[in-house]
Symmetry: C2
Subunit: 330 residues, 2 copies
């Protein structure tokens, strides 16, 4: 299986490390898995015999570029290198999908399988991409785009295939949950945010997280993939956590409740908002975990939780999608 | 897909109801699913054109027997009716596997696929059955045998295929957890047990649950299927909950802990015992839920919970296994 990696930031580097670490395990499937090309926003490198994943990581870390050649465009690389699967892990662009959307579209158009954790293309053009994949008999998988290492998309669409999923409610952004958990301990919002930034949980521009945009992307992906709705980012009713005051949190605590940023999706609901959650309720978790409550017609409520971010954790979801593709293509 | 049902107790009836309810959904897979024979310990009924699931439930409820014909042996039915999949839901026998083991063995020997929630055959002869299935190119699936509707076996062996699962610790018996949860509220063991019996959570002979036997069966199934160990019921170190005193629970509470019956399995551990769990820990849940913490090398800890018993919930796990078989056989 020949892979092209589009994007080589935190998650891309994590995936390269995982691929190196799991060589033996993957060889059990009687097929060699190799990276035949990798590119970031400025550079690329290609070798049909396979690139050493750790060398890629090393070069990116020391030079800031994954490749030694100057990149004309990602599409150029996709057109000039023979490959089977595109692993698209370039940065999310929620305005127009950015380069990631172009890469995913181009690969699917050429009948290539795609694994991505890039929420931009999925939150903006899910339906189009899915139809394109079906038409071209290509596989499009994106487990890591929601909840990182927390299993949810493949769980619902494969393990729970006989169920009607009635609703999913969950915490899909570890940064917001960390901030709200710290506010439970009496910290004001600004201080909790600063702490999250110091610990590397929040970006220097935190709006993508705290305004609920990241959670909204995930809600859209769940709506389209599990509920087979045809919605896009602009359809979500979004309230972030910047309006959650210390007073509101103290008042909630008096009633044995906490405030959590909840994403909810069903056949009719598509919402991100801070909600009151009773202490002891599965969704009252603290810290950076992601968690989801899946309500189904037969199995009743199923709850899953796991690490929602982290380079190795997200890479593990990419790996599971890749193995599923190998299984399917055999 | 032609199904023979072996056993028609609570779960069997639940499965028949689910099959009726999900006809439309299953037809989406472009294959009709029909029950061509069903038998219980005394009777059988067969029709190559398919039996009405609800009529079977009706007859079982009104006469105590699923069929109108006297059963000679289940093997006779398996030999005389053409079928594709055996759904084995007869009662668990942990001494020698009972009739269930014979049915499963016989079906696999003839290259038939098997879905079962019967813990006896799996806890006693997992390795033999698995080898037999491989040799005969038959599928053996058993999601519902551990945790009922809580996804765990297929989750680990399919969704987390790239991971090395390092350990699984969990609550796999809702009856014990209900009793311990009631003891948290100050009830003595005997009274909590009586309450569980009145609510239908515990059998009139509760030893299978409270002595940890049921949990041990599940631990064995996880060890063999996920950790690829070759162990059997007698290899498990088992302590039940009958020795958990009200004093121990009160003492735990003083230190913000609860006592829960935990099953643990790893490459080296195979144990069922009451353990102290800090309040707020994921495994400190109350009530009849099942829950499992899965530790992996890449994804970190993943927690799942769901209804561990119940006729429709367990039937839903059987349905998901059946759909997976349909997918594979297409």
């Amino acid at each position: 299986m020949r892979i092209i990696m589009a994007g080589f930031g935190t998650v891309g580097q994590g995936f390269a490390e995982v691929l190196h670490k799991k060589t033996d395990r993957l060889n059990r499937f009687n097929e060699s898995v190799k990276i035949v090309a990798a590119f970031d926003s400025k550079s690329f490198v290609a070798d049909e015999n396979g690139l050493d994943p750790l060398e890629l990581v090393e070069r990116k870390k020391s030079t800031g570029s994954v490749g030694s050649e100057k990149l004309k465009s990602g599409i150029d690389v996709l057109d000039s290198v023979d490959y089977d699967v595109l692993v698209e892990v370039s940065p999310t662009n929620i305005k127009d999908g950015g380069a990631g959307l172009k890469h995913v579209e181009h690969a699917l158009k050429n009948g290539k399988d795609v694994v991505t954790v890039n929420k931009g293309p999925l939150a903006l053009k899910f339906s189009e991409l899915n139809k394109l994949a079906e038409k071209k008999n290509a596989l499009l998988r994106f487990e890591g785009s929601v909840g990182g290492a927390m299993p949810i998309i493949n769980l619902c669409s494969e393990n729970l295939k006989g169920e009607r999923v009635k609703s999913i409610r969950g915490i899909f952004n570890g940064t917001c949950n960390f901030i709200l958990s710290r506010m439970d301990k009496g910290l004001p919002f600004e201080q909790a945010l600063k702490e999250a930034q110091q610990l590397g949980y929040a970006e220097s521009d935190p709006s993508y997280d705290i305004d609920g945009i990241d959670t909204a992307c995930k809600v859209v992906i769940l709506a389209n993939s599990i509920f087979r709705r045809n919605v896009t980012f602009s359809d979500v009713s979004i309230t972030g956590i910047t309006s959650v005051s210390a007073e509101a949190i103290a008042l909630a605590a008096e009633h044995d409740m906490v405030i959590r940023l909840i994403g909810e999706v069903s056949d009719t609901v598509l919402e991100v908002s801070p909600r009151l959650i009773p202490l002891g309720h599965p969704l009252s978790v603290s810290g950076t975990l992601n968690i989801a409550q899946i309500r189904t017609d037969l199995a009743g409520p199923i709850t899953v939780s796991g690490k929602g971010a982290g380079r190795i954790e997200t890479a593990s979801a990419i790996l599971s999608d890749l193995i599923a593709i190998m299984d399917r293509r055999r």
